[in-house]
Amino acid sequence: MQRATLDLWVGLFVVAGIVAVLFLALKVGNLGGFDNGETYVVKASFDNIGGLKARAPVKSAGVLVGRVAEIGFDPKTYEASVTLSLDARYPFPKDTSASIMTSGLLGEQYIALEAGGDEKMLANGDALKITQGAVVLENLIGQFLFNKGDSAADKGEAAQ
């Protein structure tokens, strides 16, 4: 009798522990997502990826359609080569363009896909031709100042 109740408690404890791990995996973690579903892989090279990280979301029209699988550096073209793993339920045309966006002013960076008009669809291992890298704030400010200086010089010339 004593051993039976003890076994019951231990059994309950182990079950509760496993339920806690499952809760963490499914409700807290992203194990329930489409990560395990069918995916296909597409490559894209960017001149600058900014703060993009592996596992960042890939969105089209704001909807999550995949994740960044891998980020590498191409020593031949000196560009970042990003591997995207896209949900197989969502095929995209061959001339789809990819651009790196920021969600919100200070939010994380993600890749936005803009579908093109090609009739052929992207296959596993294809590369995206049209890409636009991340906007680097410093470059933007530099450009702005440069333009300012330019237009000021123009004005000066015009006055002469």
Partner: protein
């Protein structure tokens, strides 16, 4: 004067050599427990009883502490995140800090003071009342009969307790953040799910708790087995268990974290 100084220096040397010597004995003891665990798996009810006394009896303190740690995290996190207008990230903050760090570490600290001290006291007292010597007389291997089941019972319990701690903490954070303060429920969970990775975060947390479980249990068992067979000796060994295993947990946590999370 010179004599006293010399004695002092000798004392330092003696204590250092003593520490190193004890380390060696502890390492040999660890190996011995592993080699003698075979028979305790054949008599699994011994392990089940130890899971009961190390795991089930620690449940209350783990669950209640987890809940309160999560609730405090929810409150403090909201205070800070609110100033940046990103209180939806509360779920991320609560879950990541619990799953990666607080769950394994705090659960292990509680486990060391709740179950580790009990193990040391029990074995120390068994030794003081010569039960262990009696077993040896009867040709019963005390390591296989007494020590190994306690080791495995505690090592099995530890990750389960840490997972329960994290789960309770996240529920506590949800309770305070969403139910009391009113953070949006959808973004609380969805941002959490987007940020927490199963392999990177949850599995690494489980690995941490297993390592802590092994460290705490082996320290508790060794201190008990090595305790001088007196009332004072047992009480000192119990104190040493809690102090040493707490330090071991925090030191190991730093090493494991440095290995696991070095940024992308």
């Amino acid at each position: 004067m010179m004599e006293a100084l010399l004695e002092h220096v000798r004392g330092i040397g003696r204590r250092t050599v003593n520490r190193v010597w004890r380390m060696g004995v502890a390492a040999r003891f660890f190996l011995l427990v592993f080699l003698h665990s075979g028979p305790s798996f054949q008599r699994f009810h011994l392990i089940v009883r130890e899971i009961f006394s190390a795991g089930v009896l620690s449940l209350i303190i783990i669950l209640v502490s987890g809940l309160f740690v999560g609730m405090v995290l929810g409150m403090q996190g909201y205070e800070t995140l609110q100033t940046y207008g990103s209180e939806e990230a509360l779920g991320v903050l609560v879950s990541l800090s619990l799953v990666r760090e607080l769950g394994p570490v705090v659960a292990a600290l509680l486990f060391a003071s709740r179950a580790g001290s009990a193990i040391t006291a029990e074995i120390g007292l068994m030794k003081a009342t010569e039960q262990i010597a009696a077993m040896e007389m009867m040709a019963v291997d005390p390591i296989a009969r007494v020590v190994a089941p306690r080791f495995w019972g505690a090592v099995i319990s530890m990750p389960l307790l840490a997972a329960l701690f994290s789960a309770m903490g996240i529920l506590g954070g949800y309770l305070v953040g969403v139910v009391l303060i009113g953070v949006d429920e959808g973004s609380f969970w969805s941002q959490m799910q987007a940020a927490v990775d199963f392999k990177e975060d949850i599995l690494n947390g489980v690995i941490k708790s297993v390592v802590f479980g092994i460290a705490v249990t082996i320290i508790a068992l060794f201190e008990g087995y090595d305790a001088p067979p007196t009332a004072e000796g047992v009480s000192r060994a119990t104190t040493r268990t809690v102090v040493t295993s707490s330090l071991a947990i925090l030191g190991l946590d730093f090493i494991l974290t440095a290995f696991m999370f070095r940024g992308v």
